[in-house]
Subunit: 247 residues, 2 copies
Amino acid sequence: MSQKKTESLDGLFRTIRLERVSEKVANQLREVISQGILTVGDRLPSERDLAEQMGVSRASVREALQILAAQGIVESFHGGGSIVRNITDEEIRSPIQIFLENDRQRVLELTEVRAFMEAWAAREAARNRTDSQLERIQGYLEEMERDFAAGEIRFEVDFKFHTEIAAATRNTIFVHLIDSIYGLISYSVKIHRELVFAAREDQETILSHHRAVFDGIRDRDPSAAEAAMTRHLLFVVDRFKKWSSEE
Amino acid sequence: MSQKKTESLDGLFRTIRLERVSEKVANQLREVISQGILTVGDRLPSERDLAEQMGVSRASVREALQILAAQGIVESFHGGGSIVRNITDEEIRSPIQIFLENDRQRVLELTEVRAFMEAWAAREAARNRTDSQLERIQGYLEEMERDFAAGEIRFEVDFKFHTEIAAATRNTIFVHLIDSIYGLISYSVKIHRELVFAAREDQETILSHHRAVFDGIRDRDPSAAEAAMTRHLLFVVDRFKKWSSEE
DNA sequence: AGTGGTAAAGTGGTCAGACCATACTACCAG
DNA sequence: CTGGTAGTATGGTCTGACCACTTTACCACT
């Protein structure tokens, strides 16, 4: 970086640089996020790391983050790092959120929307997934199987399983979109939380569905993956309707 | 962060607001501007002056200006000071809109998302549509056919056609969701407006697609409607890719 | 094994002072 | 009045330091 003065040659043909360092940094970060290399919820490297990796000062990195934060793309926490925010959230969530309160019909609709979106995700994941993504999906699947054997339920793992499939579509916009949907789902689930607890035989069914989805993605068989996911979510919708009518 | 399982206690005792110095500075400047003490075109005091007057470091002042600049309220010129901008003519861009300009790949992804969502819409519309909805869809279709015969293009009619189909799913959440998506689409189209103007033979093709979609919905044939819509949007995606690679 | 406390490391927030790059201003020579 | 020039003001960047908060690991206690 040290570029002394070099007065003699520098007078002519100066490179007209109207782009500030901080903006270059911001653009580079934006690119990484846009390409989905870093996605919603991920932690950015620390300011010091970024400064070193890009060969700029920490002040410039901070100004870049300031820009991105003002645009709602990242968010920083004192002592806790910076994370990537969901770029579709405010567009999608706030208009819909008001419909969800105390309205079971809307929750059902939301679940139906989720169903066909995830079916598409499974198909595209089977088409576009990388090996490392497949490994992660498999990891979550096996985790769920272990939990089931231990008689335990961890909603987060199921969440990660589905999220990783969404990521495997390698469609950045979709990843952010489905994250918003999940935000709505979890919001509604918080309201109707009884739904989370299913019977043990249902869990077994769900597990077999997950396994089938995974197989389809592993074998790069879009139709099989989609069909399995559809079967899975129709089951969920069905259970939801049943629970909904009982009450 | 960390939404653990705070269960019942959630919502109590939170809200420990700690405002950063840079935000305080930004707010103070914003106030001065909103009160009209500094107005459009006026020069702000220099960063060094502001820092001294407010008793903070120049770095904090710079970060504050960075925030205001990202919001379009002020603009800084290297060596030439900072001025107040006209905030009314500066449209506020959401995070996702920032990605959609400058990034053709993301626009393509968005179009792909739209494609499968509308395919679902067509299927559900064929299943759930009311007669009056069908009439409206038909109305828009015939309007487009008349426009085509007259050598005219009106994007709004096409928009209404698709929107009415979304409404015919009778899924409130989906309607709002697709409405958000359309908002984004139309924004990106506004940027890449060359795409709007298609060749006349393409228009004819699209018209036949629309007709096929309508037939499927009229006959309450979900598969036919979905297939027709998929054919239609794959065509659009294809044209987009072609246009995108040409440039 | 679980709980709670504590120390250390990691990370963002702020500050100070320096230097560079560009724009502005006043002055001067023609 | 014009064009150049030097000096000054101002934004842009860098360095290094310190503070405040969070996270983590470890340990003592139950």
